[in-house]
């Protein structure tokens, strides 16, 4: 078996992984390897052919593959090695990895620091326990996206989409562009889960009806989907009697949520936050296992890829520091707690001495939308130490509160900092 060493190993070559590898190199790690299970790098960006990427980082409106290529070229240019078509079989707490591939067989890699950047998988039909038959034609939106945009196949002709997440809405447009008919988009909540811009440009533009507070109650069709039964629901997701409708179609796409892909993380002993589904991390994106870092959607689901890149940079630099022995000893850590109307906040822990050197953003998502000016606040022992106003807050859009270095003292003295979002 091939044995080797490297300074930093990045698992996944999506935006998080690419950024981490680049930052690791730039911060002194010499031997940086990206391990990618697909034949080519780019991760999920390979199939996200629509625009909307890079607005913050490049001030450009790029399609996913272009955004990815910029970083792929930079990574290659810096000498980052890429193991493609390669899967990590095992990730041990002592940072020994075992990989497998057709070309290379099984390899053992001893790693200075690991960056977990595996992204997400999609919530499945079984996970929402959707009743009915189990025919061909029930797919998650991402799987359909891969087929339509990369392999070049249409999985159906007449679609119903469950879930108004961004992937679902974007696929509604994509499928319509390629000559299919999207009959309906259904959303169980009273508001869309994704961005308003996608509602306008993907559904409204094409007169695709969106039904809020509706869901699919049953799949019909033995060998292939023939129709879906739908119904209206109340705020407790209970079916409104008599509201059932049967919509003939041949494909049901599910866009009902992303779940961080943390099997490998668990293997390595990384503790997972039950709310985010991702590792518990500190402000350097290190997990509870020394030398294991995590960046991007594997930590929590981001809304803009630009912020994933930013997180990747941070994690990559931290990984390089660790691998080179430059990471300082952990001192006092302040816990970050999700308070009023905050579903989760990341990072989970902050080292006040990091804050002394640079701003640390606390990223969160609200539980309930507030369509009025809001205030995001950070409190220590009931006093507000940082605040920021925004026009509104929605669960579908990440909310950020930057902590500035002048708060270092306040944090040094605090065990916990609580973040909350209230109407002004």
């Amino acid at each position: 078996m091939n044995k080797r060493r490297c300074d930093v190993a990045v698992i996944g070559s999506g935006p998080g992984g690419l950024a981490a590898a680049i930052a690791a190199k730039k911060n002194g790690a010499e031997d940086v390897v990206i391990i990618e299970r697909d034949f080519e790098p780019g991760g999920i960006l390979v199939q996200c052919i629509h625009n909307g990427f890079g607005v913050e980082i490049f001030q450009e409106d790029l399609p996913g593959p272009s955004y990815a290529q910029r970083f792929i070229e930079e990574a290659r240019g810096l000498g980052v090695e890429m193991m493609l078509d390669t899967m990590v079989l095992e990730a041990e707490p002592n940072r020994r990895l075992f990989t497998t591939s057709k070309g290379g067989g099984i390899q053992e890699i001893e790693v200075g620091a690991v960056v977990l950047a595996m992204g997400c998988r999609e919530r499945t039909r079984a996970q929402i326990r959707l009743p009915g038959t189990r025919p061909a034609g029930v797919y998650t939106a991402g799987t359909a996206q891969r087929w339509v945009n990369v392999e070049g196949f249409m999985p159906g002709k007449r679609f119903v989409i469950l879930g108004s997440g961004d992937i679902g809405m974007i696929m509604a447009r994509r499928l319509t562009f390629e000559g299919a008919k999207v009959e309906r988009v259904l959303e169980i909540l009273p508001h869309i889960s994704g961005l308003m811009r996608n509602y306008v440009q993907c559904l409204q533009d094409f007169d695709i009806p969106l039904q809020l507070q509706h869901t699919v109650t049953r799949i019909l069709g033995r060998d292939r989907v023939e129709a879906v039964e739908t119904a209206a629901v109340d705020e407790n997701w209970r079916v409104v009697p008599g509201s059932q409708e049967v919509i003939p179609c041949d494909t049901l796409l599910l866009s009902v949520g992303l779940i961080p892909e943390n099997e490998l993380s668990r293997q390595s002993g990384v503790k997972i936050d039950a709310v985010t589904g991702g590792p518990i991390v500190d402000d350097t994106f290190q997990t509870n296992v020394p030398g294991y870092f995590a960046a991007g959607n594997v930590v929590h689901v981001y809304d803009l890829v630009d912020w994933v890149t930013e997180a990747g940079f941070r994690a990559g630099k931290s990984a390089a520091d660790y691998a080179l022995g430059k990471r300082g000893k952990p001192g006092h850590m302040t816990a970050v707690r999700a308070g009023e109307n905050v579903r989760y906040a990341v990072p989970h822990r902050i080292d006040p001495s990091s804050l002394a050197m640079e701003e640390i953003p606390i990223q969160m998502r609200v539980i309930r939308p507030i369509e009025a000016p809001i205030m995001i606040e950070a409190l220590v022992n009931e006093s507000v130490i940082a605040r920021r106003g925004q026009q509104y807050a929605r669960p579908g859009e990440m909310v950020t509160l930057p902590l500035k270095p002048d708060l270092t003292d306040a944090l040094q003295k605090a065990d916990t900092i609580t973040v909350r979002v209230r109407q002004q």
Partner: protein, 498 residues
Amino acid sequence: MLDFYDVIIIGGGVVGYMTARFLSRYKLDILLIEKEEDIGSVTSAANTALVHPGYDPVPGSLKAILNVAANPMWTQLAEELQFSFERCGDYVVAVGEEELPKLDELFKRGKQNGVQGMHRISGDEMRKREPLINPGTSGALYAETGGMCDPFGVTIAAAENAVMNGATILRNTAFEDFIIENNRIKGIRTNRGEFRCRWAVNAAGLYSDRVMHRAGVRPDFEITPRKGEYLVLDRAEFELKSVYFPVPTEISKGILATATVHGNTILGPTSNELEDKKDKSNTAGGLEEVFEGGKKLIPALDVRHVIAIFAGLRAAGNAPCQAPGVDYNHDFIVEIPDEVGGFVNLGGIESPGLTSSPAIARMVVDLLKDAGKKLEEKKDWKPVRPARPRFRDLGREERLALIDKDPRYGRIVCRCETVTEGEIIAELNSPVPPTSYDGIKRRTWLGTGRCQGGFDMPRMTEIMARELDTAETGVSKKGSGSELLMRRTKDVPEAQDE
């Protein structure tokens, strides 16, 4: 393929294939016909996967006799056919004092049926053995001889062993009628032609009633499909240590919470009588009932850990037990009837059908011998069917050796279940190869994990198209009519509106 067979077996579930396997020991030309596109894809593929000790069936019934006779056979069978089997024992768990008398009943029944290795254990002992069990557990019946298997794995192993020993299997071949001459079955008519035989065996499961009626046998016998729904829970979240039954009700053994040979936890089944022999759909009510039933045994269950749902159909029959003095109306039929010659009739094989399958097969052999059929043993009968390697089960050295032989074992196609391209190709080249995505899924466990095929499907359509030499749009989920893809992205159909 011949025109004339010694034995034609109608129906390709675990009973049919086990019978074929046991008969393949003798110098017989054996044909098994199966109407589905793949073997064992109906009842045998969707059940609780248990090998029962035999304390549950009514004493004196054929179910009881065959269950208890079959149970010890599984150890050798698993070694020979090399399917996944664990004799972990099973538990009937009483929750609350009022359920304890039911355990006594089962214990007594077990003794009557000749079940060995049963023990009464206390609530405390049960909690020690399974920390997740309901804290209100008052006691349990522990039966050492219980076990769990991969039911489809058993079926395919038996089928392959039969084929290895000369049997022929025809899929997509549906029985239509018997050819009867001089009151003896001389052949069968199918949708793919006629086949002559000396003996026909009815192993048609859900359709066993229709088959036997065609032979003029038991016109009052009726199969009522009984649907059972299941939930599968993620092994990464927690694992149960064994098989846990609730105390039984009148109709069924109840909703279990059980470990599986895959490592996942299954909850189920429900029990709903249907009219439609093809209705395997899941229902909102059924799934809720499954979860609530599971929670009675394991209160810590979290519905967010569900990774798969499915349903199976039992062939529940209405045959009265033949033994005198036994009052039971849903017994197995395993007989050579008087009404017509050349016919071995199996019917109503529901639970404990999987467990009893080797004993049923052995009984078919005995029935044929008793009826005067000459059965000469093959000197070169191969009882062992070598299993193909499962990458996920192998140690590092074994994996390296496998990849050395064929680098395609180094490429993982299903991430959640660690299934490699090498294994998929091995299945596609196996004695009874799969022809659909579900066929590969049943054989390799690909696509049964957390992402339920989300990652592997695009890879699979490419691999299957290549290996089966078909267009990707020809790759199906479970046979013709269930193709996964409809067209190429840029091949727009002719009629396009503006």
